[in-house]
């Protein structure tokens, strides 16, 4: 984009270039940080290193490439929304192999070194492929994560008539609908008793399940795949642990993600599942920061350490890291482990905060109609809202998020929360 913003002289085997800010990873957290740095430091060079072959794009849109509803050009981040900062150098196809923390350099595969003053680790995560499922290296097995994956998947659709999705999470549901729209028969194989088990309990999901069934998705719960069957044409079927075998030409794995931390092997940067970030998004080594899927942060309600893989969280944390890197010390407010809004099969839903309520003594209110369902969860004393699931009617969901996040005392507004009639007017007129 703007190659002029890197400086330094060419050496033989020493570091050739220097950038004031290096950002490893060009997705939500990385790009949010880069553009935020630009708001506070308009001349320090900013270099984003992305290992993907595509310029940064809105990752959540990739199912639309599979369905054919959008093309890659319509997913580009640059110039859209808040991503309008200038003079940000983005290097694509630049995979960072290692970081020399003491020498403040990174080593880019096939491209030598690059020096930095401050660095952000925003390498994100990659799909988890369970090793107990055999044969996943066959042609036609996908884990939809990048535009490159989406292109291959879209291609495979041409020669497929049945796709089996392993995992009942949101990403796999999105992929499943993209394939349904392309006219494929789609079967979802879910180990849990119900779909979306990470975002709600089985009894909360009945409206969504109904909508999925109506939309024509075949769902098998309580079982998992043992191996993928393939021949020279690629995938020909999937064997399940209940003895069933399903012929198919495509398999899509949606079994969660793992953080990309290997490039820090052998460095002093503290790893605990992911890269450990403090309240100011900084890592333990000097001038190093972490944000997004790869970062270990904390949950604002419980204070527990968590990692999430959500675009919205990654942007928020990336912006905070960008501020801190540019010298504007800013505390990160933490992130809900569960914070999802979307629409599957014409059924909108929001799930946030504490929604798995089997184990503790929470105060819970549920309300169901033929077309809507909600569950609001208060702490055991009933003094604070800690979680909510809204299905069908998601009106004012953002306000409930606010009440949860700010740990507001709810005495005066509890009735409105339970009835789902809370609105901002209650705040403006001194109800709280």
């Amino acid at each position: 984009m703007h190659p002029g913003s890197c400086c330094g002289r060419k050496g033989d085997n020493v570091t050739e270039e220097k950038s004031r800010y290096i950002i490893v990873g060009g997705s939500a957290a990385g790009m949010a940080a880069a553009h935020t740095i630009r708001l506070h430091d308009w001349k320090g060079s900013v270099t984003v290193l992305s290992e993907e072959p595509d310029t940064p794009y809105f990752r959540p849109l990739i199912p639309f490439l599979v369905s054919g509803k959008k093309c890659a050009e319509n997913m580009v981040m640059a110039g859209c929304g808040p991503y309008t900062g200038r003079d940000i150098t983005v290097r694509i196809g630049a995979r960072v192999e290692s970081v020399n923390i003491a020498g403040k350099t990174v080593s880019v595969q096939g491209n030598g070194g690059l020096a930095y003053e401050k660095i952000l680790f925003a390498t994100g995560s990659r799909p988890y492929i369970p090793p107990e499922i055999k044969g996943t290296d066959a042609n036609g097995v996908f884990a939809l994560r990048t535009l490159a994956h989406a292109r291959k998947m879209a291609q495979r659709v041409e020669t497929s008539d049945h796709a089996v999705m392993l995992g009942g999470g949101l990403l796999n549901l999105k992929a499943a609908f993209a394939l349904l729209e392309r006219g494929l028969k789609v079967t979802l194989v879910v180990y849990s008793p119900e779909v979306l088990s990470q975002l709600m309990e089985p009894e909360d999901a009945f409206l969504i399940r109904k909508a999925l069934d109506t939309a024509g998705l075949n769902i098998k719960t309580g079982c998992s795949a043992t191996h993928v069957i393939s021949d020279s044409t690629g995938v020909t079927g999937v064997a399940l642990d209940d003895g069933d075998e399903m012929p198919c030409q495509m398999v899509c794995i949606g079994k969660g993600v793992r953080p990309n931390i290997e490039f820090l092997d052998g460095s002093d940067v503290r790893i605990d599942g992911g890269i450990v970030a403090d309240r100011y998004t900084a890592c333990n080594a000097p001038d190093t920061f972490a944000a997004g899927d790869v970062a270990v942060t904390f949950e604002p309600v419980s204070g527990e350490r968590i990692m999430t893989a959500l675009w919205t969280n990654a942007v928020e944390m990336g912006r905070c890291a960008g501020r801190n890197m540019a010298g504007v010390k800013t505390a990160y407010s933490g992130t809900f482990g569960i914070l999802n809004a979307t629409q599957v099969a014409d059924e909108p839903f929001v799930s946030m905060g504490v929604v798995h309520t089997k184990s503790d003594d929470f105060e819970i209110y549920r309300h169901a109609t033929e077309t809507t369902y909600r569950k609001v969860v208060f702490n055991p004393g009933g003094t604070r809202l800690i979680g909510a699931v809204f299905i069908g009617d998601i009106t004012n969901a953002g306000m409930y998020r606010y009440v949860i996040r700010e740990k507001m005392p709810v005495m005066n507004i509890k009735r409105y929360i339970i009835d789902h009639t809370l609105h901002y007017g209650h705040f403006m007129t001194g109800k709280i």
Partner: protein, 168 residues
């Protein structure tokens, strides 16, 4: 650049007559007339909401076009941006109806156009000098001013009240 104007709310003046919501619907209809608006599909939606707070409070609410607009940063498709006048705009072509903006807006002023599966909000009436809701408000509960002008008037009013209290 001159300071942009914003829509301010004086809750003590709102009677709950809903003139603002009707004006908003008409302004965002194709025909720009009330009779035309009610027969259009999809039915045009009001972007200003008048909420009732017991026992007798009425509060008009409309997008604040926040400085740190949570919706703009949360949007997963790059559909929300800020224009040169400071107005936060949802690009309906880019909107995929994922409702992430609805989930993060603390004011609850982003609506869902179900027929077209798109989010909508106040656009400050780009074709008008003064937003339709403000023009329509018969009691001056909605005002369209710069921050400086509005806060100046609030200060003046407060000073007057202080003096009145001092003089008994």
């Amino acid at each position: 650049m001159s300071q942009p104007k914003e829509i301010f709310i004086k809750t003590d003046r709102c009677l709950g007559c809903l003139s603002c919501t009707i004006a908003c619907v008409v302004e965002h209809s194709k025909s720009k007339t009330l009779f035309g608006a009610i027969s259009e599909t999809p039915v045009p939606k009001s972007r200003v909401y008048v909420q009732w707070v017991e026992p007798d409070g009425k509060v008009p609410l409309v997008c604040r076009h926040c400085e740190e607009a949570p919706c703009m940063y949360a949007c997963i498709s790059g559909a929300i941006s800020r224009d040169e006048n400071g107005v936060v705009i949802t690009d309906t072509d880019k909107c995929i109806g994922c409702w992430t903006c609805v989930m993060v807006c603390p004011y609850g002023v982003i609506g869902r156009q179900l027929e077209e599966h798109k989010a909508y909000r106040c656009d400050r009436c780009p074709d008008r000098e003064i937003p339709a809701c403000v023009s329509a408000c018969p009691t001056g509960a909605l005002v369209y001013e710069t921050v400086d002008s509005f806060s100046g008037k609030v200060r003046k009013h407060a000073s007057r009240e202080l003096l009145r209290a001092e003089r008994g």
